[in-house]
């Protein structure tokens, strides 16, 4: 009679599993941020440090009366095209460099140069060759981003366990299956890290390039706001973009991640 409650009440469960698994903590995250921001904005009253309320009002205004949605659309299109291409290209090249020592050794310097080439140089050269086109912009972003992806993925590939390679060899796995079953799962943490930071980096690069050569988009508008020192406007645009990123994170990234890393044992 006493047995059942005893079973269902762990007495030495020290791992706060309940706290950890309680839903809702992430729903507190954003409100908390806004609260801190609001308090700070009220503490340091300054035209250049607008409160979240002011920013959301501005955002609403720009969305309904201004060109926010149009600009956001343009930028998103550019960023996502560049993102997808960079991730694919960077991952493939990263695997190549990670696996083939001689390729790595031959091109490691190129990678270093690619990593450290200022965006502006790439942009100017491409714009001059290709004109101020969407293609030039996206290509410039890709050229800027790919070395980063390669570096991350290469490091991931280098950390692969030779145990699984041996298994693949014993099973005579063809390359396709080997990629899918052996490489990708080990690479995933690196790809995830790369994707998380990648979108944000790409958006920042797009901003820079939109300033240099485009007739719209968030970067273009932000640089105008900057010339007017309209921080509220800048933050309104930024917030709009961050909302999109969050929607992506919670709508796409997390669910995929949850599925893909289901096998990972919960560290107790």
């Amino acid at each position: 009679m006493v047995r059942i409650p005893q079973i269902s009440t762990p007495t030495t469960d020290k791992d706060k599993r309940r706290l950890r698994d309680r839903p809702g903590l992430e729903y507190l995250s954003l409100p908390l941020l806004l609260l801190v921001w609001q308090v700070l904005a009220m503490a340091f009253t300054n035209r250049l440090f607008p409160s979240p309320v002011a920013v959301s009002k501005e955002m609403w205004f720009l969305a309904t009366e201004g060109r926010l949605l149009l600009d956001l659309g343009k930028t998103l299109l550019r960023a996502s095209a560049a993102f997808v291409i960079s991730m694919v290209l960077g991952t493939v090249l990263g695997i190549l460099l990670g696996r083939q020592h001689w390729v790595d050794r031959l091109f490691s310097t190129w990678l270093l140069v690619g990593l450290n080439l200022p965006a502006i140089v790439v942009a100017i050269l491409l714009y001059i060759w290709m004109g101020l086109t969407e293609g030039a912009l996206i290509l410039a972003v890709i050229i800027n981003k790919v070395p980063l992806v390669i570096t991350n993925i290469r490091e991931g590939v280098r950390s692969f366990s030779p145990d699984y390679d041996e298994l693949a060899r014993a099973l005579r796995m063809p390359m396709g299956r080997r990629l899918r079953l052996i490489f990708v799962p080990q690479l995933l943490p690196f790809v995830l890290a790369s994707a998380r930071t990648g979108l944000s980096l790409i958006w920042k690069i797009v901003l820079v390039f939109e300033v240099l050569g485009s007739d719209g988009g968030v970067g273009f508008r932000v640089s105008l706001f900057f010339q007017l020192f309209d921080i509220t406007g800048i933050l309104a645009y930024t917030t709009a973009f961050i909302l999109v990123v969050m929607a992506f994170e919670y709508g796409v990234n997390r669910p995929i991640e949850g599925k893909v890393v289901r096998w990972r044992m919960d560290p107790a």
Binding site: Q6, I7, T11, T12, D13, D15, P162, A268
Partner: protein
């Protein structure tokens, strides 16, 4: 003479999957201070689970496990051998042993290495060792800290007979000299018959103690005949009482 602590296991429930039958349910086991207990039973019955609970590695269960009255996960670190070697691949053999205790002198680690027949391999990384050598290294790590409790999950596997005999001798000597409390798992009746004071036979899900065999003759006095008798007793207990296929 000093000897290791007593272990008491009062496990109300241990389950991994909230829906499936628990692995352990109302499981009680007391182990006398300084005794050597072998845990036998079919594959997947819950032997390793018990060992991990006693070591304080797994704390997700209801009930209480104590080491001389202290909660298992707060007690002194036991000498623990995992079922796999569980070596740190980025450390050399000697450093793997020393990882067990920050203050262990180099000499102690070298001695532990020699005890399991690995002299000269101190600077090798785990992947440079054969399977059996890795297991021996894991055993050396467990023995090097001179713990009062030894929890060994199939410590004699993957080793040739000569080596097993030697390690049996080593353990018997250690037990004779320091009288630690030892709980070990083995699928070979011979290991239990040579080393154990008591054999606990598990079966079923949830796991139950289906037999609890005392082996009264002291280790030093066990000759071939006694050991063969013990082996037969253990094997028959294991085969008749655990008939259930998993």
């Amino acid at each position: 003479m000093a000897h290791g602590p007593g272990l008491t296991l009062n496990i109300v429930e241990k389950r991994f999957d909230p829906l499936a039958t628990p692995v352990l349910d109302q499981f009680t086991l007391n182990i006398a201070p300084g005794s050597v207990v072998a845990l036998v039973g079919p594959s997947g019955v819950g032997k390793s689970t018990i060992l991990r609970l006693v070591a304080g590695i797994d704390r997700l269960f209801s009930g209480r496990i104590t080491v001389d009255g202290i909660d298992a996960d707060k007690a002194h670190p036991p000498g623990f051998v995992f079922q796999d070697p569980r070596l740190l691949p980025w450390l050399t053999a000697i450093d793997n042993i020393r990882a067990a205790d920050g203050k262990m002198p180099q000499a102690t680690a070298l001695q532990a290495l020699a005890q399991v027949g690995l002299n000269g391999y101190g600077d090798a990384y785990p992947h440079q060792l054969s399977g059996g050598m890795q297991r021996r290294l894991a055993l050396a790590r467990a023995l090097a800290i001179n713990a009062e409790v030894l929890l060994l999950d199939e410590p004699f596997v993957s080793l040739d007979r000569a080596l097993v005999n030697e390690i049996h001798g080593l353990l018997a000597e250690l037990v004779g000299a320091k009288r630690p409390t030892v709980l070990f798992i083995s699928h070979l009746a011979e290991d239990a018959a040579r080393l154990a004071d008591r054999v606990v036979v598990l079966a079923g899900r949830p796991a139950r103690i289906v037999d609890d065999i005392e082996l009264p003759t002291s280790r030093q006095q066990r000759d071939g005949n006694i050991i063969n008798g013990y082996i037969r007793r253990i094997e028959s207990a294991a085969s008749t009482k655990t008939g259930t296929k998993l």
